[in-house]
Amino acid sequence: MNTPILQMRGITKTFPGVKALQDVTLQVNRGEVHAICGENGAGKSTLMKVLSGVYPHSSFDGDILFENEPCNFSSISDSEKRGIVIIHQELALSPYLSIAENIYLGNEQANRGWVNWRKTNLEAAKLLARVGLSENPVTPVQHISVGKQQLVEIAKALSKEVKLLILDEPTAALNDEDSSHLLDLILHLKGQGVTSIIISHKLNEIRKVADAVTIIRDGKTIETLRLGDGEITQERIIRGMVGRDLESLYPDREPQIGEEVLRIEDWSVRHPQDYSRVVVNNASLNVRKGEVVGLAGLMGAGRTELAMSVFGRSYGTATSGKVFKHGTEINTSTVSDAIRHGIAYATEDRKLYGLNLIEDIKRNVSMAALRKLVKGGWVDKNQETVVANDYRKSMNIKAPSVAAVTGKLSGGNQQKVVLSKWMYSDPDVLILDEPTRGIDVGAKFEIYTIIAKLAAEGKAVIVISSELPELLGICDRIYTLSAGHITGEVPIAEASQETLMHYMTKEKE
């Protein structure tokens, strides 16, 4: 049993300016379920993309041996030919095609260019039976639940005669029942000789199915733990995941916390398409004047969904709950209402949702509060330039002038433009969603300084972040979210990465 099927040695992958993987080693034995754990951004998905040929062989250093033969993949189809199939977190199914068509997409059961439908559907039915899915192969994929779609993905992998199945957060979008069914299937496939690599945040799942777990942190392999002997506790894994020194610098601040500014009560949101999924469940939280409150949670915990639904119902359906500002209930059902009540939300995806990339800095800065610049019915463009120039100086936005197009700025400078935009809207509460994502270290410190300054000016700040050290470095109080529930509220004095990770991985009672 202990013969290795996959060995990855000395994998180093560099993106311009960032070392995503550094000398990573991974050994997976034949017939086992091998889990890979790590924080968001630790390098797990990058490693799997290296393995599956998404990043071609020439773009990284190191060796991959699969079944004792070296692999020089230059595309996904190369790795699939060898029996390595990856199922991404975002399912890659075409919603309007049938289950059978999806299974054989790109691998059609055809004679001389004509599809053999009988064979396609028959073979698909056999595969569906193997994954325990009782659906008609001709059903369009959009008519089955996400859980079942996940099974279709696995059936698709099986159709390619998979030897090594890689699942990237397979249960992140599933409910408990579907999750446990999927985990059973992984064990079932293991019995049929399929080796699996599973990337997951959910430690109880890992304990249930995995034989071994490799922990990756900051692009490096930390350790591989064998779970067989039952000595490995969740706490042991967590320690491996977060055991990093708090070397990064955070600005010093003396919090001066005043009265409560914003309170959210019993907030629930459902998924906009899949009504049965409750994405945020009865969440309540508050933030006070001059306070920086963190919102921690793993991928899919509902952090962004909570923030966006409060900010003008920008996410989800069937939203319920109450928002209070200074003790009186307010209506935030449209974005302009939310802005009028002094709430600002800086999105996690600034390119897609935050900036007009083809416009210049000054027009982006004024976008959320253009009416402040109106004089006699017209926008005062001179005043706009003055305002934008003030922010360019105070926020240290590096650009030749405020007429520079934002699409050409660096990530850090783009983020400063987004923050300027919201500061100009005079908010009392700022919700910053992943404010330092995709930003280099130097610019991160500047962003932290801005956050500290905002709090010192008496704003209430909510920071959503996947980086626990960041939250520990800048927050006064941290809420943890897990599967849509607020699972913990930790004052900074009692917070550590271990306690937070414990709450973040806590299942609801």
Binding site: A42, A338, L370, N389, K398
Partner: protein, 429 residues
């Protein structure tokens, strides 16, 4: 020589805007030679203005719709429909022109509101809604006209299409002095405005066009306007519709640049999600854009009907294509967020000069359509080619390569990314 170098560097960084301007001049010169000077004869220049006025009016509304990321295929049919309405009101019912014109514009607004409702509030793509509108309003035109043309119209309405400002010298002068006064006045106003704007930019530390280019450009535009003034003045003076058009261009340029509505239009075309999350009421903006388009289509329909002196069942057919082409030739982006009223006007004039010049040469509509089609394709193709090359790291563009031969100009920095930090791909989340 550094002024020249600076100008060259600037020109290459703004190739698109400069390009269509130069293209218009080249096309004018080409046809001036090919037609042995007929193109720029006073009478023909007057014709050119009047003939294209309704397309230019449509192009104003169209470029706004395109900036917001939509399209309107129905404007030709709407213009025809409004012409029919005007015919019924004025000729059949005997309404006065001062009553009929506002009534027609109101109908145009209602038509726009109808389409805007489906697009903004129901969420049907503008392409579909206005394609349906193209059929609906053509059908209504035929119904209102009972498939027969309505004619003739009273002189007051005809003046809107073919009338001229009165001759204040009472016919004693070779030149129409009112036209000269208006033309010279407008030119002066334009130059003063340009200089003022330049001063303001300097004051606020925004990068300016290089002096050499600015002076050349302003002098050239002034010269062009004075030439046109002279040509118009030596025929019958200023067409009334030119005044209407000039007012529209000034008002809509201001609206798009300096009003909240105009700025929101750019914002929602540039990034719809970002606009929504910035509290912009994108549905309201979209709705208003289509109402505005309806009013302008109605105005174009009135001008067209007045010029022909008849409301015709096929009136306005194909106008939408000319208006759309004008907007795109004038630099509007297919994806929205980019475009100017002035650009659409130049685009419309390019199409107009092509039409007029080829007609004088006696080329049939077959070749006219062929050539117009190719011009549209080339203009937008050039745009996209240029964007792809200079865009995200796709090698050096032709322009960049040309630039390398001249020493780097101080001004070029403006267009360059400030030390492009690569965004690290969020690894393994």
């Amino acid at each position: 020589m550094s002024a020249l170098r600076e100008s060259l560097g600037f020109l290459t960084s703004r190739l698109r805007q400069v390009g269509i301007f130069v293209a218009l001049i080249l096309i004018v010169l080409l046809f001036q030679i090919l037609t042995d000077g007929i193109l720029l004869e006073p009478q023909n220049v007057t014709n050119l203005v009047v003939q294209n006025s309704y397309i230019l009016i449509l192009a104003i509304g169209m470029v706004m719709v395109i900036i917001a990321g939509h399209i309107d295929l129905s404007v030709g049919s709407v213009a025809g429909f409004i012409g029919a309405c005007a015919g019924v009101m004025i000729v059949h019912w005997g309404w006065e022109w001062w009553l009929a014109i506002p009534a027609c514009l109101l109908i145009g607004a209602l038509v726009g509101a109808w389409q805007g409702y489906w697009i903004a509030y129901v969420g049907i793509p503008a392409f579909i809604v206005t394609l349906a509108g193209m059929l609906i309003f053509r059908g209504l035109t035929l119904i209102v006209l009972k498939n027969q043309q309505i004619t003739p119209f009273p002189g007051e309405l005809r003046a809107l299409g073919g009338g001229f400002l009165p001759d204040i010298s009472g016919g004693t002068s070779v030149l129409e002095w009112l036209t000269v006064i208006l033309g010279v006045g407008a030119t002066l106003a334009l130059v003063i405005q340009a200089v003022k704007e330049r001063r303001i930019r300097k004051k606020f530390e925004l990068e300016n066009e290089p002096m050499a280019w600015f002076a050349t450009k302003t002098a050239f535009i002034a010269l062009l306007m004075l030439t046109i003034t002279f040509l118009l003045a030596s025929y019958r003076g200023t067409p009334i519709v030119l005044i209407v058009l000039a007012v529209l261009v000034i008002v809509y340029t201001a609206l798009m640049n300096n009003s909240v509505f105009g700025r929101h239009t750019y914002a929602l075309g540039g990034n719809l999600h970002a606009a929504e999350l910035s509290g912009i009421k994108t549905k309201v903006v979209t709705f208003r854009l289509f109402v505005n388009m309806g009013v302008l289509a109605a105005l174009a329909g009135l001008v067209f009907t007045a010029r022909l002196n008849s409301a015709q069942p096929a009136g306005g057919t194909g106008f939408e294509l000319d208006a759309i082409a004008a907007a795109f030739i004038g630099g509007a982006a297919v994806t929205g967020g980019i475009g100017t009223v002035a650009g659409a006007m130049i685009g419309g004039l390019i199409m107009g000069v092509l039409n007029n010049g080829m007609s004088i040469l006696g080329l049939g509509t077959d070749y006219q359509q062929l050539i117009k089609g190719l011009v549209l394709l080339l203009a937008v193709g050039f745009d996209i080619f240029n964007k792809n090359r200079s865009g995200k790291g796709g090698g050096i563009s032709i322009i960049e390569r040309l630039k390398l031969k001249t020493p780097p100009a101080a001004d070029v920095d403006a267009g360059k990314p400030a030390a492009e930090h690569p965004v690290p791909v969020a690894a393994g989340k």
